[in-house]
Every structure is written in structure tokens, then in C-alpha cells.
Symmetry: C2
Subunit: 180 residues, 2 copies
């Protein structure tokens, strides 16, 4: 499994549907269906994004998820951390202490500070995290917006309107699909 | 499992024992025992380092592994790639094509170029790889050398000398422990 998992990929693609229209909220079912991914997967992921303050959820017939902040302020790093949790790039086992000449107990100097190998890996992790922090949902949505034709957004709006109208008319219960 | 695995950690710590003394070669068994890690693990890892041109192996009673190049020219990125192979940070599933409004077949514009989410992840991967490419075995060995007392290196030399003398005297067969 890749370090940044499919859960993050699905989360970002679904979050992109929430950019730019704060009037409407989409349920995890709406988002999953619109993006063509598993509803149960999205229902598991979005509560994590809510907990991280990336989306906010509302109840009711027109309830669902909205972005909790402007898309330009939501970084890929926040999304990755919200989904993946504390997941280091390199999990130092402190094997520096296991040198044969130390015997059963490594000397204090050998374990002082951070292992030089670990420190090098942490620099690489920081570089990766800084790059993720430099990417925002807003910027990626804007990039996508420049490649997609105008009628695509009309089609999406029509799809969402039909979905919301279906809810309002009572066809299908309102759902956020949020597991407790 | 972390993206940069324990195999890389073990490899780097063992490679550090090969820095600065080109007169002697250490078998994978010597390296494993000196570092206090599993010999079979090291016997699996070192052929990959040899294939990548990071170490060279020699046969015979005094055979074993040496660095193939100056330690200052061996980067952490090369070591990671040699051990982990082609392992992307993010494995794009191209779910951009699975939007409900596309129906069964996404339009050409939707699949043109690289997915914007994937492109952002590739930038993060590049930042990580650039950082790993900036770390060399020689620099990390030098950093370690500044923290370790002089007698430590004498102890290591004595440990290795006893091990090599044991081999030369025919106690235990010469071994590189290289699986075919």
C-alpha cells in the first residue's frame, strides 16, 4: 500500500466537489455516487475530515457536508494527516544501540540525541510535508476548473439538483451516512 | 509498515560499517552480527545493494562486501531505491474518470495530462526524493564519527580483526551468505 493511500485520493476528489458552492451540502452518499467510489468508504473517511475541521456537517433534508473553511486555506497536508493520522515516513527502530561491541547495554553517547539515520529521514519527511502544505484544495480546484469545459459544471449542477430535489420530495431518506 | 522500511534502516546501519576501511571486506554474517540484526535479513538485502552498484562482493577467505564507491557519492536515495524498488508515495487510481456525469466513458479532456491530485502528490514525492538524494553515507558516517569516542572505533576494529582471524584460521567457513 502506498504511503499516501487511496483513502486520501478519494477524500480529495470528493472534497473538490464541495469547492465553490457553499449553498448546497452533499451527503457522503451523494459524494460517493458523484465520484463513483464506494459509499461505505466515504462514510468512513468524512467524519475524520469533519473532526479535523476540514468539513462541517449539517443534519436535515438539505443536510450533508460543506467545506468548513475557504478551499484556499485547506492544504493537502491537513487532509493527509486527517485521513492517515500519525504515520511516519520512517519508523526508527533505534538499532544504533544494538552494536556487538556494546554488549548488553549501549553507552549513553551511542543513544544521545537523534540517530543520524533517523535525522536524515526526518529531513526527507519534512520536505514531503512542506510540499503537501504548499498544495491547497482551492488551487487544485482552480487548476481543474481551467481544463474542464463550462458545460461540465452545468452537468454537475444538474446532477446535484436532481439529487437534492429527490431528497426534498421525500424519495429516499435524507442521509449523511455517518457511522457513529 | 512505514514507507521507508526497516530493511533500509538495517541496510544503512550495516553500510556505515563499511565506510572508511577499504582494506577489509565484511560478510553479510559479519555485518549482521556487528549490527545485531538478523543475518538472513541482511543476506537478502545486500545482493540488492550489490546489484545497484552500492557495494561490491568478493569471494574467498577474506571475501565479503566493500563499498563500490566513495561513501560521499552514495546517497540515501540510491539505497532506498535499491532496497524498496519502484514504490510510489501515492498510487494514483485515476478516479477522476469515474464521475457520475461522464457515464460509462469519460471525455478525453477529463483524462488528458496528469490528474491534478496526482501531480500535487508527485511534487511531494520529488521533494522527499530530493532530500534523500542530498544525504550521503559519507556525511552521515562523518556525523556519527564526531559523536563516537576514539576507543569505540578501536573496539570495532578489534571485533572485526578477531572475526577475520577466525576465518583465516579456518574456524567457520568463509561466507558471504548470498542467496542465489
Amino acid at each position: 500500500m502506498a504511503h499516501i493511500t487511496t483513502s486520501v485520493e478519494y477524500a480529495i476528489h470528493c472534497l473538490l466537489w464541495l469547492v465553490g458552492d457553499d449553498d448546497r451540502a452533499l451527503s457522503s452518499r451523494d459524494l460517493a455516487d458523484l465520484q463513483g467510489v464506494s459509499p461505505s468508504f466515504i462514510a468512513k473517511i468524512f467524519p475524520r475530515l469533519e473532526k479535523a475541521g476540514i468539513v462541517r456537517a449539517s443534519e436535515g433534508v438539505r443536510g450533508g457536508y460543506r467545506l468548513a473553511r475557504p478551499a484556499e486555506d485547506i492544504t493537502f497536508l491537513e487532509i493527509v494527516d486527517a485521513i492517515e493520522g500519525d504515520k511516519p515516513l520512517f519508523d526508527c527502530q533505534e538499532i544504533r544501540g544494538r552494536c556487538a561491541v556494546f554488549g548488553a547495554r549501549p553507552p549513553a553517547w551511542a543513544m544521545a540525541g537523534k540517530c543520524a539515520v533517523h535525522a536524515a529521514m526526518l529531513q526527507a519527511e519534512k520536505a514531503m510535508r512542506d510540499a503537501l502544505a504548499g498544495q491547497t484544495l482551492g488551487a487544485v480546484a482552480a487548476r481543474f476548473g481551467r481544463t474542464a469545459p463550462g458545460e461540465f459544471f452545468d452537468d454537475v449542477k444538474a446532477w446535484v439538483d436532481i439529487r437534492l430535489a429527490g431528497r426534498a420530495a421525500g424519495r429516499g431518506k435524507p442521509r449523511r451516512d455517518m457511522p457513529s
